[in-house]
């Protein structure tokens, strides 16, 4: 019996592994079928028993890739075994159709679908599953006989390459690492670098065809004998126009990308022109949908919102599953491609964001740069725009590739003129400080979640550099410092830099806290502690800014004295600078909010949902761990918060109304910012929040005592992170 089985099995070896022949066994060895042996052995095993060696590790084994599991096995055979097989089966014919009208129609569908794919890619999916699901793109040479399709495929590949280079150079993509994954994809088609010349030639031909058909329809004499784009005379104009705007958009978009990459922001002005053209071409593309849809009517699905092409027809030549295997990291799950409409909306937004970057004046002052980046981030720009901004800001370790970091710090910290040639710039820690500034700029260009995490961690670096600088200065200039001569340059540099480092640290801390609101990380019961922490951080920020400005004025005054026209300056000196007042009115607002929330809690007028998982102190530590670790600010702990809020009462709050202070300062300081619309708008918002809360406070005080059912809740209706109280009778 056993013998017979062995014979059968031996025979099966030859039959079962015909392809196995190409998978070589070792020298002098053969492939032997062990299926029967395994089967028999398994029967002898007891439940749960395994056959394994000494190096077996159950937990490691659990991470094994499960074959034929649709979520893990990207190699499962789908419709086609390979790109070549797909092509042989006619999945991507060239030409798409021998009827030119159909061919043009299908080409437009391919163009539209590629646009949707590109937007989907930008939004965070892999290139292999989006743009390169197009079989025509995967075989660059196949399309060469089809000038229209060929030119479009080439510019798409070149554009993808340019975008990947921007994002990977900026390294803002850590959390979006699928983006730059292009392994195994033909991003470098032969001659793709000359994509524009072919694109121009095709554009020229089609615009002639358009002219010819217009002349024909107006019965004018045809100047040149031109073969029309396709057979149907009635549709000629519409098709020519639809193609032209698509080709022109690609051309100008490619120009935008290349001119924005020119060093030191030299191409920004040119880029703006191309951006404007791109946006108007996108509008033409949008309008062409009506024409394309009217022709395709009936041949396609009716779901207008979900359609991925202008006509609504499914494009020819796409198969996302083909690439699953080509690039191992591609998760085999299917993704949803954005609709065509959403893709156009995406590109319009992207172009607007890029336009904001291009219209930036390359402010040499770091303060201005930080303000611009924060302002830019408010519109929640996507990865590609953020990467461009970062590359503009930091090039070759310099601001805009132009100003050395030492020069930037010198200006920002208002160091005296002599510093520029001082050997302090060779100090090791000053070099490190420059690196920290670069990191800060880069991190500010990342998405909010990533940015917040990185900012929190960065605080420690800023604290450490502060201590290191202090020690280094003491060591290097210790002797000079002990001399009472306050004209001493070293002393001045020393003070200014340290002050400035502290100011930057508190700026980062306040941004860290604010981003928590944007990311909705705080629950209403935690607002009180968050505003309290903001309060202590802002106090420090205002203090450091004030000292810095006073020091700057001090230097100016000295200069003025020499010029003997300092009377006005002296008068101005005793006023608090507007920048400090600006922080001051935020301080009043957060203090008011802290106390109001604490008083409401203390008087049980706000719904407190007891948290079953952790205490308030634990949550305090969870939220502010990174700040606490970096001692930002010093001596701040939960007991300090507890102490300052336990005795808050509505009645005392009404007597001393912080919101009124905020309103008053905001009103006063407005006149100082008439040239700064962003700051003015912010002040106006602060004023509104303060006013509403001030009124709410009075209402609570008067009605609250009589009506125990009064409900108070908080909304962000006037400001993204300063809450407005809403009082309701239940």
């Amino acid at each position: 019996m056993a013998e017979k089985g062995a014979e059968e099995a031996a025979a099966a070896v030859d039959v079962a592994v015909p392809e196995g022949a190409s998978i070589a066994s070792g020298d002098n060895t053969v492939w032997t079928d062990v299926s029967l042996l395994l089967e028999a052995a398994c029967e002898d095993l007891r439940d749960g028993e395994l056959i394994h060696g000494d190096n077996f590790n159950l937990f490691a084994a659990m991470s094994a890739l499960e074959i034929m599991d649709p979520k893990m096995d990207s190699g499962m055979v789908c419709k086609y075994y390979s790109v070549d097989e797909a092509i042989e089966n006619g999945a991507a014919p060239v030409p798409i159709s021998f009827y030119k009208t159909v061919d043009v129609q299908c080409t437009i569908d391919i163009m539209d679908y590629l646009l949707a794919c590109e937007a989907t890619w930008h939004k965070g999916h892999s290139l292999a599953q989006t743009v390169f699901s197009c079989i025509y793109l995967l075989r660059p040479d196949r399309t060469s006989s089809h000038a229209l399709l060929h030119s479009y495929c080439r510019v798409i590949r070149a554009t993808c390459k340019a975008v990947i280079s921007v994002v990977s150079d900026a390294r803002t993509h850590e959390e979006e690492d699928l983006f730059t994954m292009a392994y195994g994809l033909p991003l470098d088609g032969d001659g793709d670098e000359k994509c524009l010349s072919l694109l121009n030639a095709v554009e020229e031909t089609i615009s002639r065809q358009l002219r010819a058909c217009k002349a024909h329809s107006s019965k004018r004499r045809v100047l040149e004998d031109i073969e029309p784009l396709q057979e149907n005379v009635d549709l000629e104009e519409g098709y020519c126009k639809a193609l032209l705007c698509r080709l022109r958009f690609r051309k100008h978009f490619y120009h935008v990308l290349t001119s924005m990459r020119r060093p030191q922001g030299r191409g920004l002005e040119l880029a703006r022109k191309h951006i404007a053209t791109c946006i108007s071409e996108l509008e033409c593309i949008r309008k062409s949908a009506e024409f394309l849809r009217s022709i395709a009517c009936g041949a396609c699905d009716d779901d207008t919102e979900d359609r991925t092409t202008a006509s609504g027809c499914q494009p020819i030549g796409f198969d996302a599953s083909l690439n699953c295997r080509l690039s191992a990291p591609t998760p085999p799950r299917t993704i949803k491609i954005l609709s065509w409409k959403m893709a156009i909306d995406y590109f319009v937004k992207l172009l607007h964001d890029l336009d904001i970057i291009c219209s930036y004046t390359l402010d040499p002052l770091l303060e201005g740069v930080l303000h611009f980046v924060v302002q830019f981030q408010k519109s929640q720009p996507d990865l590609v725009a953020r990467a461009h901004l970062q590359l503009l800001l930091v090039q070759d370790g310099k601001l805009y590739g132009r100003d050395s970091m030492f020069a930037v710090i010198t200006r920002a910290a208002a160091l005296p003129e002599v510093t520029k040639n001082h050997d302090i710039q060779n100090n090791e820690y000053i070099g490190q400080l420059g690196q920290l500034v670069i990191n800060k700029l880069k991190v500010l260009c990342t998405n909010s979640a990533w940015q917040r995490r990185k900012l929190g961690k960065m605080l420690q670096d800023w604290r450490v550099i502060y201590v290191q600088l202090e020690l280094a200065f003491r060591k290097d200039f210790g002797d000079v410092l002990s001399s009472p001569d306050d004209e001493n340059v070293c002393m001045k540099i020393f003070q200014h830099i340290l002050l400035w480092v502290e100011e930057q640290t508190y700026w980062i801390a306040s941004r860290f806290l604010i981003l928590g609101f944007e990311l909705e990380l705080y629950s209403p019961s935690e607002y009180c502690m968050v505003y309290w922490y903001m309060y202590v951080v802002l106090i420090k920020l205002a203090e450091k800014t004030h000292l810095k400005m006073a020091a700057r004025n001090d230097t100016n005054k000295r200069k003025g004295k020499k010029k003997r026209d300092s009377l006005k300056d002296v008068a101005r000196e005793y006023r608090i600078p507007p920048a400090v007042l600006f922080v001051q009115c935020q301080i009043c607002l957060v203090e008011g909010l802290t106390m109001m929330l604490a008083a409401l809690r203390n008087e049980n007028m706000i719904l407190q949902s007891p948290n079953p998982f952790n205490t308030e102190q634990e949550r305090f530590f969870q939220h502010f761990e990174l700040l606490q670790k970096a001692c930002v600010p010093d001596h701040i702990s939960y007991p300090a918060f507890d102490e300052s809020t336990t005795y808050a009462r509505i009645s005392t709050l009404v007597m001393y109304n912080y919101f009124k202070d905020a309103q008053r300062i905001a009103k006063e300081v407005k006149s100082s910012f008439t040239n700064d619309p962003d700051k003015l708008a912010e002040l106006r918002r602060i004023e509104q929040v303060a006013e509403h809360n001030s009124i709410a406070l009075n209402v609570i005080c008067q009605v609250g005592a009589l009506d125990p059912k009064l409900k108070v809740s908080f909304e962000f209706s006037h400001h993204p992170y300063f809450a407005t109280a809403v009082v309701k009778r239940s």
Partner: protein
């Protein structure tokens, strides 16, 4: 993590101490001798996996280490093979269609006896 490792260790120990080594059948011993050998497993969609035999359970699910996947590029055979590295994989018995071990010709006959 430490706890997990410990738990696992004790599990593996328990398994070997309750006698799987002592009174396992002749067949099981023979399969155990195949561990660390090169194994070629074919599955129903036509792919082959070549790797080091790492583990098998009662249900016949096999784990291979340092595996390379082979697949034909066309539906019609014969056709050129494409390959890629996969590392540690689990092949469920339900999709397994063939299973071969690399061995000397002398050993082949003994392996075929069941």
């Amino acid at each position: 993590m430490d706890m997990e490792q410990e738990a696992e260790k004790s599990m593996v120990q328990a398994e070997s101490s309750d006698g799987s080594n002592l009174n396992s059948s002749d067949l099981v011993t023979r399969v155990r001798n195949l561990l660390y050998r090169r194994m070629l497993v074919g599955i129903k969609d036509g792919r082959f996996f070549l790797g080091t035999f790492h583990c098998i359970d009662k249900q016949g699910n096999i784990i291979l280490q340092d595996t390379v996947e082979y697949r034909s590029t066309r539906r019609s055979s014969p056709s050129p093979m494409e390959q890629r590295c996969l590392g540690l994989i689990l092949i469920p018995s339900s999709c397994r269609s063939s299973c071969h071990v690399d061995c000397s010709i002398e050993e082949q006959l003994s392996l075929l006896k069941v």
